[in-house]
């Protein structure tokens, strides 16, 4: 415990000594300040007394509390913490492991009565301080802004601390492994960013293929419904055109299902960065009754364009199926992926990465 505390304190001192950490903290507070100075009136969004007219974001469609929570999620968590702050944290901590394994330093660490794997894990934990401290400051400031400006005190916002730290930990585990292997901060950073890019691509690919797959399912359903409707109206009617259309769609669907299985299997193995941050959005927005999911009665569901969607993207309704139905089905499919699957498989990958790092660190000569 003494050694663990010492490495944590050392990690904190190392971060504080870096200007990037302070800069990142200041930027975090600036982001909260930007969220805080925004407001709503009947026309749209107000900033410093100026009104930007936004038809669907105004005081008639959002309560102040929901508006600030939405800003917290979409600007604060998704954009700032999920991307830029994570990138700054990676830049700032990319040198931690290469420095630890460098000549003149590693000897002092390894010649102590601590197993190597523990040193690795302790150092890794210290590396997570950057994000967790930044998140703590960001969440506290956001909590105050949403409370004071929006009138809602949402302790659920603090869920962002473990969630974003977890998201960062997927990437930092890879950075630690690469830093240990290459002994170079630049190489570790660049390769980790490349890995992140790969995760983003994989995630986007799965989203697209899944979207087209669901679009295709809905298309088949729409064709079948149309066939049934025509046959009901006139049992003698010729539906061979619909039949062949249905056959083509089934063929497309079976291809898409195969591809989706492949991409989904790959995605299952790797960390789900986007879905991890989306969990926060899911939990905080649902908690505040800002659920943008469709209800049972489709007529009561506003068109997706009139509600902030969980993500932008292509139109998967490509024919007879309604775009709204496809989007809702896709949304439902995404949400059907449980927390256990999202976090469990991501953490499993992280544990495997850490395990590999520990193993390499433990058996290497320095």
């Amino acid at each position: 415990m003494t050694a663990f505390t010492a490495i944590l304190v050392d990690g904190y001192r190392e971060l504080v000594a870096k200007k990037l950490f302070t800069l990142s903290m200041i930027l975090s507070l600036l982001v909260v300040a930007v969220i805080g100075v925004g407001g709503l009136n009947e026309q749209g969004v107000t900033i410093f007394g100026f009104t930007i007219e936004v038809p669907f974001v105004n005081s008639n469609t959002f309560t102040p509390a929901d508006f600030y929570k939405l800003m917290f999620n979409s600007v604060g968590v998704k954009f700032w913490l999920g991307w830029l702050a994570c990138l700054l944290a990676l830049v700032s901590s990319a040198g931690m492991f290469p420095e630890m394994v460098s000549s003149g330093v590693v000897e002092n660490m390894l010649s102590r009565p601590i197993p190597r794997w523990r040193l690795y894990i302790y150092k890794f934990t210290a590396g997570l301080l950057f994000t967790s401290l930044q998140m703590a400051v960001f969440c506290l400031a956001s909590f105050l802004v949403i409370g004071l400006r929006g009138g809602a005190w949402e302790p659920g916002l603090f869920l962002a601390i473990p969630l974003v730290t977890l998201l960062y930990s997927y990437l930092f585990a890879m950075s630690a492994l690469l830093g240990t292997v290459t002994r170079s901060a630049i190489a570790a950073l660049l390769l980790t960013i490349l890995f992140w890019g790969f995760l983003f691509t994989l995630n986007s690919a799965e989203f697209l293929v899944n979207g087209f797959r669901i679009g295709s399912v809905k298309e088949c359903e729409a064709i079948q419904a149309l066939m049934a409707k025509r046959q009901k109206e006139n049992p003698e009617v010729d539906v061979s055109d619909l039949d062949s259309e249905l056959e083509r769609n089934h063929s497309t669907l079976s291809n898409l299902e195969l591809w989706h299985r492949v991409v989904f299997a790959m995605k299952t193995v790797f960390p789900k960065t986007d879905e991890t941050t989306s969990l926060l959005q899911r939990w905080t927005l649902e908690a505040s009754n800002m659920n943008d999911e469709g209800g049972d009665d489709a007529e009561e569901v506003p068109a997706p364009a009139q509600k902030p969607r969980r993500r932008g993207g292509p139109d998967f309704g490509n024919g007879r199926a309604k775009t709204r139905d496809v989007n809702l089905a896709l949304e439902a499919d995404q949400r059907s992926r449980g927390v256990g699957w999202i976090l469990g498989t991501s953490v499993a990958f992280e544990i495997a990465t850490l395990g590999l790092g520990c193993w390499l660190f433990a058996r290497r000569d320095f």
Binding site: T2, A3, T5, A6, I7, D10, R13, E14, V16, A17, S102, S103, G104, V105, V106, E107, N108, M109, L110, S111, R112, P113, I114, P115, R363, D365, F366
Partner: protein, 322 residues
């Protein structure tokens, strides 16, 4: 605590092979007694640092039979009783000297109160009392070395490994470090000194081992090693050239001629009785005895004898070889 006369390090066979064919250490076998200053000497690349790193678990040995402080080599818990100053060590530049020493203490499992107390005491002892709360990035090489020494001692070790401790330190600092080593010995600690500075080792070491290309080629007490090549040098000035038989009667030793014309005879024995017949003979033949000096073999001479190939007159190339 291990009592005097007991071996705190006893290696039977330690080997390290890199990549299947580069032998850094070849069946190293040596013993280090409690409370002594032991010098591991050798040319660059002989494997000195590798051996220390094997003992301190920084390098995994290919074979390691032996014990340190009564435990098998590689036992992590034993390292709580061991201090280490690595060669060209680097303390974290963002830490003050005090923080750096306390950090090392914490890694060794020293409790908070003790490490705070010992860090201050040791930094004072190595002459950094006024600098202990300054960041080490403003320190000179010598000051960093002193801070490193304090860090190596902070867990109150029974054995302290010092790898080139005076590297980059000025002459005054070297004397101070030497005094510190002697003080450590007085405190009952065992000092394992890795050095290629033979003069330095000669002044403080009780026992030494010489490592060449990964092999221990010589080891023993400093007194025994010096005795091996000990001699007496008799210098005689002859009155007239005719009075000088070469070699003079009864003494079958070829002299060397000094620049002042005197002749020097070297007796490979420290016992002065061996030189007495020569003295008598020289006097009887009209020679003037200038001096009879007992000469102990210097470590550097011994080292050169061992390291330099007598046929080529060259030292082995750096590296342990394959």
């Amino acid at each position: 605590m291990v009592s005097q006369n007991q071996n705190v390090i006893s290696l039977e066979c330690v080997s390290k092979v890199y990549g299947g064919n580069t032998h850094a250490l070849r069946e190293v076998s040596l013993k280090v007694g409690a409370g002594e200053i032991f010098g591991l000497l050798g040319p660059n690349g002989a494997g000195k640092s590798t051996l220390v790193k094997v003992l301190l678990t920084v390098v995994k040995p290919s074979v390691a039979r032996g014990e340190m402080l009564g435990q098998p080599i590689g036992d992590k818990k034993t390292l709580a009783r061991v201090g280490y100053l690595p060669e060209q060590h680097r303390l974290a530049p963002y830490l003050t000297a005090r923080q750096a020493v306390e950090f090392v203490a914490a890694l060794s499992g020293v409790d908070r109160a003790t490490r705070k107390k010992r860090a201050a005491e040791l930094l004072e002892r190595v002459g950094l009392s006024k600098w202990m709360d300054r960041r080490v990035n403003v320190f000179s090489k010598g000051m960093r070395q002193r801070a490193g020494l304090a860090a190596a001692l902070v867990n109150d070790p029974q054995i302290i490994f010092l790898d080139e401790p005076t590297d980059g330190v000025d002459p005054v600092g070297r004397v101070e470090i030497r005094d510190l080593l002697i003080q450590m010995r007085r405190e009952g600690r065992t000092v394992f000194l890795n050095s290629h500075l033979l003069g330095e080792a000669e002044q403080v070491c009780d026992r030494v081992a010489i490592l060449v290309q990964g092999r221990v080629v010589k080891q023993g007490s400093m007194a025994d090693l010096q005795k091996e090549g000990s001699r007496q040098e008799l210098t005689v000035r002859w009155g007239a050239a005719s009075a000088r038989p070469l070699p003079f009667r009864g003494i079958n030793i070829e002299p060397t001629v000094n620049v002042d014309g005197s002749h020097q005879y070297v007796f490979s024995d420290l016992d002065t009785a061996a030189a007495q017949p020569a003295l008598d003979a020289a006097r009887a033949m009209g020679g003037e005895i200038i001096s009879l000096i007992p000469m102990r073999q210097r470590l550097e001479e011994l080292f050169m004898k061992i390291v330099v190939d007598p046929t080529t007159g060259k030292a082995p190339p750096p590296g342990a070889g394959s």
